[in-house]
Every structure is written in C-alpha cells, then in structure tokens.
C-alpha cells in the first residue's frame, strides 16, 4: 500500500513539475525581449523547470537570513519536535529548526560547491589550455601527472587527503578543487587542442603575444560553449561529492547548516516513519536533477542535433 501510495506521489509530483515548467516558460516569454523569447519558446519543459528550480535555490541562498524564521545554529526547543506552525518541519536532534537550517543549507552547501567548481575550473582550464598551447614536454609532464591522479577513484582520494589535512572547510575546498581540476584539465586540453592549430592562433603567435594573452583573448572565447556545459556537469559531481562527505561527517563541520549532515543527524527518524530527513536529501537531488536537465538541453542545442 505504502509503495503504491509512493508511486502515485511520484507521478503527481512529476506532472506538477512539468506544469510548473510550462507556466514558467510562458511567464519567461512574456518578460524577456523579442530575441531571447525566440530561444525561450524552444525550451523543453524539463529545461524550463530546471531553470525555475535553480532560480529558487539562488533566491534561498542569497536571502537566507530574510526567509528563514530562525538562525541556523539557534537551539530553540526539545529535540525531534514534530511538524507544527511554529517549527514548520519540526526540530532536529539538538532542537534546531529544520526549516531554517534547510534554507541556510542552500547558502552553505550550494555556495561551497559553487566555489569549489569555480576554483577547479580556474586551475583546470588554465593548465589544460596551457598544456595544449605549449605541447611537448610541458604537455607530457602535466598530462602524466593528471593520469596518475585520475587513476585513483575521486572519493577514495579525497578521503585520503582529508585524513592528512584534517576536515576543515578550507581543506575541503582545496582538496576537492584539486581532484576535480584534473577532470577539467582533460576536457580543456582536448577542446584547446582543436583550437590551437587554427590559423588565427598562429597569427597571434607571430604578432608576439604572450601565453596568457593567447589563452584569455584567443582560445578561451572559442572554448566557452563546451566548457559551460561541462561546468554544469562538474558542479553536480562536486555537489554530490561534498554532500556525500558531509553525510559521512567529514564535510562542513557543525554547527554550519548543511544538507548532507542534516540527513545524517536525523536519519534515525526514518525508522519511525518520519520523512523529515528525506527532505534535505531531496533538496540535493532536486538541484542536481535541475542542473542536469538544463545541461542536457544546452548540449542538445550545442550539438545541433534535432533528430
């Protein structure tokens, strides 16, 4: 019975989500100008839903102190209070308001994932394009280092690194950014290899431009489209990895509100049939699904495949 009930809910939520996607697309078409409206009309419902969800998360992250009724670390009541009008989603194991922590979690968890991805992209693309540009020894050395680092599964490698550097927010950011930049390096190098053999790069080299100018002004603008889609995918990976580490108790440290550790702290409630711990886990899943939907559409557009 409970399973049928669940399946029914999944169908209802999926239909509701598509309806939201449709309404949001119609609203977008009205708001934006003529040129963009043309593109917006071609949005599949999944992608429009994705953009809508991402917007909501951004709003939650930016205005967290305004939206959340209580502070993220305030201990307000007894532990595990049920849902009520004062504490919308009840309280957690220490008596903190779950709803407020959920809102602050958008700021902390998503914020740190975004920071890590950006850092990984900064390192990865610069080195990747540099390797493609210089080729020869520089390329060989960098590529072999990346090969070795990629031979270790990333979760295992980050666990090893966190043992050594300790589990602070700073080491978390640096470790995951380093590991992830190896993946970005591969892509950036592959994309740049196709660009560096073009004539206009040769011309710029003959003009006597330096490496940094070449990367920033000549290569990057042309490599932007594939890298943007990759950014979305890498963000999902990083986000899931940080959530996994937090879930294991090795990510962001308390009392910072964070979705992964919220699931872990309240997990015992599930065995009493209370779904509160599933909500932060669902918040993680919703965002990654949304980003994936948007990236899927971007890739589809970029490849020009209409099948």
């Amino acid at each position: 019975m409970i399973i049928l009930n669940f399946l029914l809910w999944v169908v209802v939520v999926a239909c509701g989500a598509l309806a939201v996607g449709y309404v949001f697309r119609e609203i977008l078409v009205r708001i934006v100008g003529q040129e963009i409206a043309k593109i917006v009309r071609t949005l599949p419902l999944t992608a429009s839903l994705g953009i809508f969800v991402i917007l909501i998360y951004i709003i939650c992250a930016v205005f967290a102190p305004v939206i959340a009724p209580y502070g993220e670390a305030d201990i307000l009541a007894g532990s595990f209070e049920p849902w009520s009008s004062t504490y919308w989603l009840g309280t957690d194991n220490l008596g903190r308001d779950v709803f407020s922590r959920l809102i602050y979690g958008a700021r902390n968890t998503v914020g740190i994932a975004f920071l890590v991805t950006s850092l990984a992209f900064l390192i990865g693309t610069l080195l990747g394009i540099y390797a493609a540009l210089k080729s020869g020894v520089v390329d060989q050395v960098l590529s072999r280092i990346v090969d070795v680092l990629m031979a270790i599964p990333s979760l295992i490698f980050s666990l090893l690194m966190l043992t050594i550097f300790g589990t602070s927010a700073l080491s978390l950011v640096l470790v995951i950014a380093t590991i992830d930049s190896t993946r970005v390096f591969r892509i950036a190098r592959a994309v740049a290899l196709n660009i560096v053999q073009l004539d206009y790069i040769e011309a710029a080299k003959l003009r006597g431009e330096g490496s940094f100018f070449l990367i920033r002004r000549e290569i990057l603008p042309n490599a932007m489209a594939p890298l943007a889609a990759e950014f979305g995918l890498r963000f999902c990976f990083v986000f899931l990895m940080i959530s996994a580490l937090s879930f294991m108790g090795l990510g962001l440290q308390p009392p910072t509100a964070d979705w992964g550790s919220m699931v872990r702290d309240n997990a015992e409630l599930i065995s009493f049939g209370d779904i509160t711990p599933l909500i932060p886990a669902g918040a993680i899943a919703f965002l990654t699904i949304a980003v994936n939907f948007v990236v899927d559409w971007l890739l589809h557009r970029a490849s020009g495949l209409k099948e």
């Binding site: 409970i2 399973i3 669940f6 999944t46 070795v148 680092l149 031979a151 270790i152 599964p153 990333s154 979760l155 295992i156 490698f157 666990l159 090893l160 690194m161 966190l162 043992t163 050594i164 300790g166 589990t167 999902c236 899931l240 959530s243 996994a244 879930f247 294991m248 108790g249 090795l250 992964g260 699931v263 997990a267 599930i270 065995s271 049939g273 779904i275 711990p277 599933l278 886990a281 669902g282 993680i284 899943a285 990654t288 699904i289 980003v291 994936n292 939907f293 899927d296 099948e307």
Partner: protein
C-alpha cells in the same frame, strides 16, 4: 595469438606501473603530514624521549626510500602494518570486510548488468518513443540523486513495511540465502545508481552502430528490428559495453562506501571512513590502496576484453 599475449603483457606492465605510482603517491602524501606519525600517536604532551623511542619502534628514523620499500614489501606479503586506533594488525581488519564488500559488489553486478543491458537494448529499439523518453529521464534523475537519498527512500518503502531488514548486518557464518535476503536493500540501492548510467551508455553504443550502412542493408533485406539489434548490432557493441560495465563496477567499488554507512554494512568503506575520522593513517593508506588496486584492475580488465572482442584492434597491434 602472439600479438594478443604481447598486448596483454604490455597492458599488465602499464597497470603494474600505475599501481607503483599510486602506492608512491599514497605513501608520499602521508610524508607531507605536518609533524609525524609518532607525534600523532602520542599526542601533544609526549616527551622528546618517548617520541624518539616510538619513532625507532615504527622505523620512522630510517630515510624515506627505505621505509617506502619496507612498506611495499610488507604489503606484498600481506602485512599492512598495525592500526593506530585499534592497535591490531590491519590485515585482520581488512580481510573479512573486503570479503563482505566484494560479496555486495558481486551481488549488485549480478542484478544490474543484465538489467541495464536489457533496458538499454529496449531503449535503442524504441528510440525516441515513450519508453525511451521515460527511461532516459528517469535515468538522468537517478544519476543525479545522492546514494543516501535512494537508500533511505528504499528503507522507507521496503524496510518500514517489514519486507526487508533496514540494517545489513552479516558475518562470515551467515548462510548464503539469508545473506542474499539481508543484503537485498543495499544491493538494490547500488543497482538503481549504476543501472541508469550503464543503460544510457548501452543505448548510446547501440545507436551509434545502428547508423552504419551494414545495418541499413539488413533493414533492406527485411530483417526484423529485434533481430538486427541482437544479431547484427550487439556483437559490434560489445567493446564499448564491456568498457562501461567495467567502469561501473569500478564505480561500485567506491560507491559502496556511502551505501555501507546507510545500511550499517560491515564492509571496507566503513573501515575507511572510521579511519579518516580517527586519523588512523595506516588504515586509510591500506584501504585506499585496496580500493585503488581494484579500480585499476577493473579498468585494465575492460581494456583487455574490449581489445579481444574487436578483431581489428588485435591485428593492428
């Protein structure tokens, strides 16, 4: 035949080289630790004399390359050193847990591989139809979910209703059938996570081949679509599919870490996470070496099988 052996020997050599690099990396990363193991064991208040004594006992006063060779030599003989937190030989901790983890991985593979191949073939058969779209969207969704979300939903649906136990506590004496029953939920969680990926890749591999002229020829001859896929397309898709399967099994090896925690499963992943928490460095080194070896080994296997399955690759090398 000689070509084949030579190729396998080359790949194996490359794999061994990778493993040596990995062991070096794992060893050196601990060298980068501020302070050293002796200080870590004794804490801040230790006198210089006791620190020196422990250093001598652990062999920390030897130069780095000697220690590395000793460490590696010990591991090759099955000696991973002693755990700092539990003060026991690590091999005794790892062996039974490795067995459990391998059991869970194998169990999952037995469900996930046939399932995802079948789904992938069906999706490529009905491509762009409703089956394809729904399976594609749900695959995308299940890839995007954290493992613990899937795990807890399954606990909520199947364990609370009393069908399956929510804690997968097994030991060496549990009979096989009971083991299969107890481990069903963790295996199902892992299956859901990897099936999506394998299915998408299978579908992509088959669709790539369906675009080739000889498939069109088969169509024109009037061969039925199901037969085209199983007899004409599938044999040529084996290489990419085997690759995907091996990569996903390699992923499973690390994916178990989180699932083991959700279901309190006595496996290698739990040991490693506990090691990280207590900063039990020898345990973390040993477990990450085991995980990395399994990962490299499976990738190597995928490489070799995909070469064997493609006669063209075998001739050229």
């Amino acid at each position: 035949m000689n070509n084949l052996l030579l190729m396998i020997a080359k790949r194996l050599a490359l794999g061994v080289l990778t493993l040596i690099m990995l062991s070096l990396l794992i060893f050196l990363s601990v060298e980068a630790l501020p302070g050293d193991l002796a200080q870590e064991i004794l804490g801040q208040q230790a006198t210089p004399e006791t620190v020196a004594a422990i250093r001598r006992e652990l062999g920390l006063d030897l130069p780095a390359h000697t220690r590395y060779l000793n460490w590696l030599g010990g591991i090759l003989q099955g000696d991973f050193g002693n755990s700092l937190a539990l003060r026991k030989p690590i091999i005794g901790l790892i062996a039974p847990r490795l067995e459990n983890t391998l059991f869970l991985t194998l169990y999952t593979a037995c469900i996930a591989v046939p399932l995802s191949l079948a789904l992938g073939m069906l999706a490529s058969l009905f491509r762009n139809g409703y089956f394809d779209r729904i399976s594609n969207a749900s695959a995308l969704a299940s890839i995007s979910m954290p493992e613990f979300f899937v795990g807890y939903i399954l606990i909520y649906l199947l364990a609370l209703t009393g069908y399956f136990p929510s804690m997968a506590n097994i030991n060496a004496n549990t009979p096989l059938l009971e083991k299969l029953y107890i481990c069903f939920l963790p295996a199902l969680t892992l299956t859901l996570v990897v099936t999506a990926h394998m299915m998408r890749m299978t579908r992509a591999a088959i669709i790539n081949i369906l675009a080739l002229p000889y498939i069109e020829m088969a169509h024109l001859k009037g061969v039925r679509p199901g037969r085209i896929i199983t007899r004409h397309a599938l044999p040529n898709a084996i290489a990419p599919i085997v690759n995907v399967v091996a990569l996903n099994l390699a992923y499973l090896i690390t994916g178990v870490v989180i699932v083991e925690i959700v279901f309190v499963f006595p496996g290698l992943g739990q040991l490693m996470v506990d090691g990280v928490k207590f900063r039990d460095i020898p345990v973390v080194q040993a477990t990450s070496l085991v995980f990395a070896t399994a990962y490299v080994g499976l990738n190597l296997l995928a490489d070799i099988i995909s070469t064997i399955s493609n006669p063209r690759l075998m001739r050229q090398r």
